[in-house]
Symmetry: C2
Subunit: 178 residues, 2 copies
Amino acid sequence: MIEGSPLRADAQRNRARILDAAEAIFAEFGTRASTEEVARRAGVAIGTVFRHFPTKDDLLAAIMKRLLAQLVEEAGKRDLFTFFTHLVAQAAAKKTVVDLLAGSGVDIRLPDAVGHLEEAVGRLLEQARAAGAVADSVRLPETMALLTSLCQGALHGGWDQQLQARTLTVVFAGLKRD
Amino acid sequence: MIEGSPLRADAQRNRARILDAAEAIFAEFGTRASTEEVARRAGVAIGTVFRHFPTKDDLLAAIMKRLLAQLVEEAGKRDLFTFFTHLVAQAAAKKTVVDLLAGSGVDIRLPDAVGHLEEAVGRLLEQARAAGAVADSVRLPETMALLTSLCQGALHGGWDQQLQARTLTVVFAGLKRD
DNA sequence: TATCAAAGTGAGTCTCCACTCATTATTCTC
DNA sequence: GAGAATAATGAGTGGAGACTCACTTTGATA
C-alpha cells in the first residue's frame, strides 16, 4: 500500500465520519442503501463522499476492510466456540460483514483481509483441536463455511437468542465429534 | 383464493412461459435481474409480463410459491439427511429459493407456502428421530435454521462438492448427538 | 365468419441513484 | 496574513429499470 501525502485535517475528519456513517447505514439497510443517505448521515455533501471513495464499491470495500480487521482482532481474544457465538449474535447488527462474507451482489475483492480472518480462525481451530474440543477431522474450509452460513442465517432469519443457542448447540456438537 | 374467469389459451401459454423464464433468469442472476430480461427470455413483450404480474414482487412471489411447492413434494420422498444434502447441492443453481428463504431485500409474504415446507421438514425430523438418526433434543426451529443457513452459505460461497460434503458431515454429526 | 372482450405490444414516463465538475471554502506553508 | 494547494459543495448528468397506456392483435362465442 502506497502512502500519499498526508490528508488535510478536515479531510481526515470527514473521511472518518463517512466511514462511520456508511457502517451504520449499510448495517441498518443493507448495501442497497444509497450513497446520498450515507452523505446525509455523515453531515457531508455527496461530492465529498465521492472524493474519498471514487465508487460505491470502494466505500464498501473500505468499511468491510475495517470490519474484518475488527473480527480478526476479536478472534485473537477468544476461543473458537465463543467467537462463533459472538459473531452469530452480532450478525443481525452487521448486515455489512455478512454481505461481504457472502459476496452478495457487490463486486469487491478483499483477498488480504479475508485471508487474515481465515488465518485467525485457523489458529482458533488448531487450539480447539489441541485441547480436544474439536474432532481431528474438522478442517478450516468447513469451519469457515459454517461460520459464514450461520451468520447469514442469523441475519436474514432474524433469529432470537434461543434459536441462536439451539442452532449453535447442534453445530458445536458436530464439531466436537464427527 | 378466488377463481376469475378462465384464461384465454394464449394467456395461459404466456403465463407459463413467463414463469419458466423468470425462474431461469432469477436462478442465474438473482432477483436483481430486470423484468425486461425475463420478458426477453419468455419471448413476450414487457407489457405482457406486467399484465400477468402487476409488480415485480408479484412475479417473484409466484415463482417462489412454485419452488416451495416443489421442495415440499421433494421432502415427501426423502429422509432428512438426503433432503438436506440435495437442497444444499441445488442451492447454487437456485438463487431464488435461497433469496426467498432468506427474505433478502424482496418484500414478499408467503406464510402458507413456507408453513407447508416447515411441516414437511417437521415430518422428516420426526421420522429421523424415531429411527434414532437424530438426537431427541433437536427441534424443528433449529433444523430449519440450519437448512436455510447452509443453503445461503452454499449459494453465496460457491461451495464445491467436497466442501458441501465436509460441511454437511459436521452438521449431521451434530444432529445425531448433541 | 363477424363480433368484441381479452390479451399482447413496445415506445414512453417516472423515479432513483451513481457519479461529475465548476465554483466556493478551508488548510497549510512561508 | 497572502498565496497556493487541497478539499468541500451540490446542482446537474446519464443510465437503468419498474411500470403505463393508446393502440393492435387474437381467441372465444354465437
